[in-house]
């Protein structure tokens, strides 16, 4: 078919003409890919972590009951659990003992927790992967803690969490209840808060209402709240990163606009020659269209696959600071790879199409000039 053969020639010519100005085009592709790389990294990461958070936290307790005094969190008497157990529809109420421990040496905060069953000695602990990594001074496998009364305590690490669970356990230190109370200063009979599981999820709101009526100084945090918080959090964190990036993005837009809307003298001359030997305006525009399309498509592919590797093989290492927070302790975890076709299509439409189209404008202006000027140049 003639049309097909003609497109083939045009693409051939386009590729060779891109290669003839290879340094200019390579630098353009490089910058362009970086921009797309950045954008798609943020998009992939945000989406992946939102999905992961949703999946993991689906097993969190339906409700957390906190006691507040003067609007601030306060320890909750364990007897409150009995009151709540009497409410119809409540499956189980478990006091949660957890808190923070700040390690001077590593300048990082860790989470200490008491599990329901702790089959180890009082001086033993189970830690997450991030703890061992960042603790600092470790004697053999013993970690030094400063108790509530400033007494020094040495605890032995007997087990650690699987690296794979880093996303929830990285900074965690599990210990026996007496040791917890000693280190954190939570007196007997009190807990940090209560975790409530209900029999029928649809009754959560009703039960929450009953709890608040029965125990007015408490506040209820539902699982839905938790999941919504994380969804919104990743949205705005990624937005924050994109806002920071907008300065660079604008600079790139200006650069690309300048590149795309101006033809060099050499390019103008070439278009003149092509017109002179019999190419129509339509042929020239088709060639320019392929040119813009090839450059932006290559940049798109490089940027997107680079972003995929960056986010799913290296956990977004370049963005750790902004997206994960600049903590003393980053959990090392891998996200579930997933790509949303719709997201990719939108990104494609926002990057490849505009660029391809704006390269046509200056070409059109040159292409409609009389080929007579070509003779005159001669």
């Amino acid at each position: 078919m003639r049309w097909l053969e003609r497109q083939r020639y045009l693409i051939d010519f386009t590729l060779s003409s891109l290669w003839r100005r290879k340094w200019k085009n390579l630098s353009l592709v490089l910058v362009y890919s970086l921009v797309i790389f950045f954008l798609s990294s943020v998009l992939f990461f945000t989406r992946a972590i939102r999905q992961e958070a949703g999946a993991i936290l689906a097993e969190a307790p339906e409700m957390i009951i906190q006691r507040t005094i003067a609007g601030r969190h306060s320890l909750i008497p364990e007897t409150y659990a009995d009151t709540i157990r009497e409410i119809r529809g409540v499956g189980s109420v478990k006091p949660r003992l957890w808190g923070y421990y700040f390690n001077m040496v590593s300048q990082a905060n860790y989470t200490i927790m008491v599990p329901e069953t702790f089959p180890h000695k009082e001086t033993e602990i189970v830690v997450g992967e991030g703890v061992l990594r960042t603790w600092g001074s470790v004697e053999g496998n013993r970690l030094y803690f400063s108790a509530y009364d400033r007494e020094a305590v040495l605890l032995t690490v007997v087990d650690s969490f699987d690296d794979q669970t880093a996303l929830v356990t990285s900074d965690m230190i599990l210990m026996a209840e007496p040791m917890f109370r000693k280190i954190c200063g939570v007196p007997e009979g009190f807990a940090t808060d209560l975790g409530v599981r209900v029999r029928n999820r649809r009754e959560s709101d009703t039960i929450a209402g009953k709890i608040i009526r029965a125990l007015p100084e408490t506040r209820v945090i539902t699982r839905a709240d938790i999941q919504r918080t994380y969804a919104a959090l990743f949205d705005w964190r990624s937005g924050y990163v994109i806002v920071l990036f907008s300065g660079a993005g604008l600079a790139f837009l200006i650069f690309a606009w300048d590149r795309a809307t101006g033809l060099s003298a050499g390019e103008k001359n070439e278009i003149g020659i092509l017109k002179g030997v019999g190419w129509e305006t339509g042929d020239i525009l088709a060639m320019k269209f392929w040119e813009g399309g090839v450059i932006s498509s290559i940049a798109f592919l490089l940027g997107v696959t680079g972003a995929y590797g960056h986010v799913f093989f290296s956990s977004g290492i370049l963005f750790e600071h902004a997206l994960k927070g600049w903590a003393g302790l980053y959990p090392h975890f891998r996200l579930i790879p997933s790509v949303n076709f719709y997201q990719l299509a939108t990104l494609f439409a926002l990057t490849v199409l505009p660029y391809t189209l704006i390269t046509l404008v200056p070409a059109w202006k040159t292409a409609i000039t009389d080929p007579d000027t070509v003779m005159r140049q001669g």
């Binding site: 097993e59 923070y100 989470t111 996303l167 918080t229 705005w236 696959t305």
Partner: protein
């Protein structure tokens, strides 16, 4: 072209790792259930960012006197209001 192959990778790779990923999620979810956890271990720069969903008091210098606010972006960008609205 090889670049189309790269693009295909984006759709094939997730399918390939799906099984081990699902298992990992199962393990983590199980831990969450056992320990009754409510937050991911993502933002450990300050106490009030570690357990985001648990209300807590927060004030400056909370870790030690030389520590200022660890979370400077909080001064620039406010979380959207929707997360505070109940159903």
């Amino acid at each position: 072209m090889s670049s189309t192959g790269l693009l295909l990778l984006l759709f094939i790779h997730p399918a390939v790792t799906a099984k081990s990923d699902r298992e990992r999620i199962r393990n983590e979810a199980e831990l969450v259930r056992q320990l009754g956890l409510t937050d991911l271990c993502l933002f450990t720069e300050a106490r009030y960012t570690r357990h985001l969903t648990q209300a807590d008091l927060h004030s400056a210098f909370q870790d030690h006197p030389m520590a200022l606010d660890h979370f400077p972006s909080g001064a620039m960008v406010r979380p959207p209001l929707e997360i505070w609205r109940r159903k």
